[in-house]
Symmetry: D2
């Protein structure tokens, strides 16, 4: 709670970037600024690996991108190819150990990998590898992948990777560099996003297109599901290594994870969010005086709701822009009002009014209650909570950190019970159909498993998505 | 540019807080969270001094509140009274030296002061004191004030302060603690804000009311111009030490400095900003498709503009929430697109549209040009820039860091020239009357000197507002 | 105990250096390396102030010289004159506040001071100054001195200093820089050392001559008691501002403080220590097999004892060279054997032997007991403790940190009682006469007050030597 | 030069410790203090791994033991078994990556290893493992060993280790913990030392016995060459896994690496060094007035030389005790006199005298020249350099960082040429026979390969001992 910028949200696990730009002067500075634009995808650790003619130097550390890197470090990371990674939390103690990119030496030379996603069968594969005498120094999937690639070292690296991918089940957007190549891979379901851009004479791969803007790269296209991109000799080669799987992009990227200025698989995140607000207004209309957002993630949908409902949009909650890591352990007194560190009510704007309060999602529900309380104490006559996504009911196995089901308020209680718990006058969630419609992706089914339990690939019946962490 | 959260803005110099709460368990933790809410008023240094029966312990350091303090430090700062300070930049090298609160020993014991504002005649007084053999270890006004108080040590502390205030000319909101007292003072013109609240059994003084919310304090009233508040024995005593001066609150507090959820001298900052947007729409109407804001400071006014003009409000620029201090010196390539580190265009939303782009103020103008360029490149058909304050033409002598006049675009160029420079299709500034009307403060004249040159008190004809820095 | 390199010793308060070398490229680097050689005189804070045409930049921080300064900091400190300071501990919380050099602005411009010593009447003067309305921001004597100089700002700086010195009582070696001058002063009794050297075209002043060696300076002479040296226009002017006082150099400089490779007032510290060992052998002979030292401070005297007694010298105790600040709080188990972190016994060398164990001084006696125990447990047949200084019985008022008298084992117990407490087979202290003889300074009386109570100037009857610390 | 405490010396690569003490309260604090006593064996990184019922937590970082660990870290490292490691430099960038202990997961659970020494055939084994698809994340031998153990995971851990050891060639003292066991191994030649002690109810393994003293452990015996010690269920089991190899302890441990208060394989390091000095006096007598040492490492031998030659011992060079890491890059002027930062001459003691200057070894020779110069400039009439070891002529492949042969002055020049280069009046090295005799180890041949080129096991004909660093 005292660590991030947003409250009671699911957390993306990672953001990745890969830059191929031989001859460019400071490739790691580009990677740095690109990662900075992806910071919202992971705030716990950051790392960059630079590949100079096959020799790979790297640096990774706990902290925000701007905390981890200094001019001195960036200068050391010279090369023609660079990959970078930001990571959201893991449990486990040896944090830096689990930071990425992972850089290893194998028969075919040095290789660096950065991974966004989660392998459903990593534990299984790892067990088999351990049976063969393999040791593991981290608890990240990248180490499993690196081992599998190394076992195929007699093949060309593309072949080795392709061979490896056949064994993987789960979500992965990967950037890999080895020798003079930059390789990008997106899983067969396209669960995690990955897109391709052009920069000067070279190319960029990134989790989200917002990373291109800041470094002056131009968007080319999204990498497709089941596609491997090999960049070498300044050329791009595309291999469709899986032709059978059906696409199933994570719908939560549109709900909360991605930055609104990104475009994923052809759809603007901003537009999808505004659509969601509009549809929500249709699904759960209410007679009210003002639409307000829980900032920042609810703002776009709130504007959409206002437009569709013709109820005016206004600001009711102000966010402290300086919230970040704090080193002070708040005492009981402060903890109870923790949400106040981040949000304050605009009394003048809401006093005596019937409010529609738009939030993007409700995970545990604790924060919602505090906010509704704050609004009522400040004089709001009614507070109608509208949520731009369906109730989160199921664990994600594809790279999102979901609480255990018993802590998912949507999994345990009915909508009416939740309404009562949070003290709202009414509560409406966007329907799954509404969400899918808002994203409006023709010919592409979306993964809505966290809402529906309908997983696009088989997942473990029981147990956790963090298989290695607690060994 | 790579340091703050906002671009091309005037900078407030300080925020202050004072808490009197004998018996409360952790007074410095309250001061900490209060300062945190005032962080927008100064990001360069932070300090807290805690007074325990006249003995004063303190800690101050360069950095944000959350960077400066740790649990260990806060625990050391025990007491019944605490004062705190956040400060925006000074030039000069020995930065920490100039951090506040200033804690000194004088005949009457230890005394701690925190000051927001700028004394116009500090140099004059300082010179006289130096003639008398006084030494100075800092370049801050607080040291001048402390010396003057000490010279009156034979009087009661209130008298000593009153006597001192008579000599001061300029702006000051002060919190002072000595012995068992907490004292708050606001200058005769009330140039800088200061308000009073109640917490548990005690009292709080703060630059802005938003600091009360987070610590659970209740707003009582604003301290008036020319008023001194003495809190002692759990009671409040008010002395109107100056009855003649006319109030002249800084209007820029409403334009940019203060947090929208604060209320200053009876007026909500949010409401004033929305008003400004509405009036601006009347003063500079335009035929357009969408009103967008330069986030975050332009957002409220943009909503007002949209409401008054009936042109829909939408988001056109997305801000990277993680922008803060960066340790990477961007190369030429990155510097040219520095604004991109903070802002990205929402192409989908603005493509082909005629935009009204609302900003709170223009200081140097460099950023405005970059933003207009970005919008046009992204496909905006027209960009009509509307500024919620008049052109900044004059230096502030009352605590705001204004560039030299030759760098104030409003002082050097006509509106039409500026429009051409920033590449806008039209440019409209709020009039001074419009600004005053938006703040709507009955019976109170506002200081609009930075726009009009009409200073509420006599200021030095030439020279800088930083008199000691470069000695 | 877990902080320094030596155990159970009195602590010097400071070391100072001043360099005048217009045109030299990197004067602060010279000051840095000079301070490094004076590190043994103070390990708590370090600071350097550089004077460039009257403008003074400085940096000071808690820590060892090598911890405090970086290339970046040193580069910023450009100038023609530099002064530096290392300081040993004070109590009081705001540590950095009390670090030196003290840099202030007064009517005559910027002035920097560094002080080694202690003013007996600082409290008195301070009180008078406070009566006049002066404020104090630190608890160091330098601030008192700076205020007094400032009050005489109408005179030339030399005159102002001379006038100030007339009021001071106590010990002081001072280096001061202001405008284009470097000034060095030694108190009328010459209690604290100060010497003068030549470097390239300029001059150096330092607490000890060992600082000259490392920077390639050449020793010229000691500054005399009651002498002020003004260096200006590349010339030296000497003023004997006190002609009446009798010299009384601190004898403990020879016992422990000064580095053995320094020469003070014409006497080699090494030679004096060896003499002390020789005289000790005459005063307290004993039939034994081996002379060992408590390293490092007892080594020279042990060699002298061995030479005079014809008992062979050998090593019996080995010191861990890496002992420094430790961040681990040892538990009870470790605390009891704390001395073991620093010293280990060379069993092979001492087993079955009758030992003479030479130490330079005993303050609290706790460590001596632990060492004697260790030696006996390792098989020493007898341990005869010989101390190269008389019992420390009185507090120092001249710049040495002495424990309160009740903690001075020599003040409370008889020699025989101490012998029993530390478990030695015999115990012999050097006599005061022996000490004076060992230093062998013709025509100069030494201060032996901590042994004899015979203070060279009047001291406060009661109370502490730290007058301001606890206000 | 600006990094360590000693000058121009060969560097040991590591020190290790292992503690088995179920039920003891703070096992990692013991490991901490033990490592602190082994600090002289490696100053670049430090690490501790604590094993609690098979679960292993660890912490390792660049820096001295006292810099790396804090109370907070030590508290986290709870367990019944702990191993620790200090490491001297490697080249290569990702320093922390190469710190030890190495902690990995294999089929048999978590396993932690700490290694002192160097495997001659690590490259060969590694290549074979890479052929099998193994990846490497570090360039340390421990990772090779861990992989080999993991491949034998179907055996009991002792068997797996035994099987692994069969493949290793080179030097290794190893401590390993896995499940509820602490295992110590010494290589078949016993090149690197390892000894066993008892602590409370448990056991300790350490590179040197000096680590026992500080934690209150009692020396039991040295681990023999080719012996594996398994500690489990509070019992010790010994396996002689190699019965054929001849012992060949590194003689340089006695010359320089080990602390004088350690005992290795039955011989006191102090006694061996004194013997060396005595023999040196016989081998290279000279008519002189004073024997001085290059402190600290030459001191013991100098005392021995003095005793045998009847020339008095005295101090001629004083060492600055505060030399450590410095962050200041000295300019040309300072670099030329870099040795002066560490050593100063005691003029009074050596003026006009014919000196015997005893040093433990000469590697590059640059420092010796500076010291001889300093002594002559200070007035020494003659300087006769005596070195307590033979000329270093050959690279070490067993864990010592030797410069390339062209930088070994002893490999390139004759004794007479070296004498001339360093400006000594005479130069005498201890003979190999003299060295062996001084160590006086019955029935044990010593490794003197760096002097004689006579390697106890086959070494690579060409190439470096750092096989992986530069891949």
């Amino acid at each position: 709670m005292f660590n991030g910028i947003d409250l009671d949200k699911l957390k993306e696990e990672c953001g990745i970037i890969g830059i191929y730009a031989p001859g460019i002067e400071n490739i790691s500075q580009l990677a740095y600024f690109g990662l900075h634009a992806l910071q919202h995808r992971g705030q716990e650790s950051a790392g960059i690996a630079a590949n100079k003619s096959g020799e790979i130097h790297y640096y990774k550390e706990m902290g925000l991108v701007q905390e981890v890197f200094s001019d001195k470090v960036i200068e050391r990371l010279q090369g023609d190819i660079a990959i970078g990674h930001v990571r959201y939390s893991t449990t486990g103690e040896s944090y830096v150990t689990n930071a990425q990119p992972l850089v290893v030496h194998h028969k075919g030379g040095a290789i660096a990998l950065a991974h966004n996603g989660n392998l459903v069968n990593a534990g299984e594969i790892r067990e088999k590898l351990e049976d063969d005498g393999v040791i593991f120094q981290t608890s990240i999937d990248s180490e499993v992948i690196a081992n599998m690639i190394a076992r195929n070292h007699k093949m060309e690296i593309e072949e080795a990777i392709k061979n490896t991918l056949k064994e993987l089940r789960g979500s992965y957007a990967l950037v890999i560099t080895c020798k003079d190549k930059l390789i990008g891979v997106r899983d067969p379901q396209g669960l995690r996003p990955l897109c391709l851009g052009r920069i000067d004479g070279g190319y960029v791969l990134a989790s989200e297109s917002c990373a291109f803007h800041v470094i002056g790269a131009e968007f080319i296209r999204d990498v497709s599901h089941g596609e491997m991109i090999i960049i070498e000799n300044n050329k791009i080669k595309s291999i469709k290594y899986d032709k059978d799987s059906k696409k199933s992009l994570c719908s939560f990227e549109f709900v909360y994870f991605a930055r609104p200025d990104s475009t994923i698989d052809g759809q603007s995140v901003y537009v999808a969010r505004r659509n969601a607000g509009k549809i929500l207004a249709k699904e759960h209309p209410v007679d009210a005086d003002l639409v307000i957002a829980v900032p920042d993630s609810g703002t776009v949908a709130a504007i959409g709701y206002a437009q569709a409902s013709k109820i005016p949009f206004g600001e009711g909650l102000i966010k402290n822009r300086y919230v970040g890591r704090t080193f002070i352990q708040p005492d009981q007194r402060m903890r109870e009002r923790s949400v106040k560190l981040k949000l304050n009510v605009l009394k003048e704007n809401i006093k005596g009014k019937r409010l529609v309060m738009v939030d993007d999602s409700i995970v545990r529900g604790t924060t919602s209650k505090q906010i509704v309380d704050m609004l009522k104490q400040a004089g709001a006559k009614e507070v109608h909570v509208r949520v731009c996504s369906p109730p989160v009911k199921y664990s994600c196995y594809f790279g999102i950190d979901t609480p255990t089901r018993k802590n998912l308020v949507g999994a345990v209680y009915s909508v009416e019970e939740i309404r009562e718990m949070i003290g709202a006058d009414s509560l409406g969630y966007l329907s799954i159909e509404g969400l899918v419609k808002s994203i409006n992706m023709e010919g592409c089914s979306l993964c809505t498993a966290c809402f529906s339990g309908d997983y696009p690939i088989e997942v473990p019946k029981q147990g956790s998505n963090y298989l290695f962490e607690k060994r």
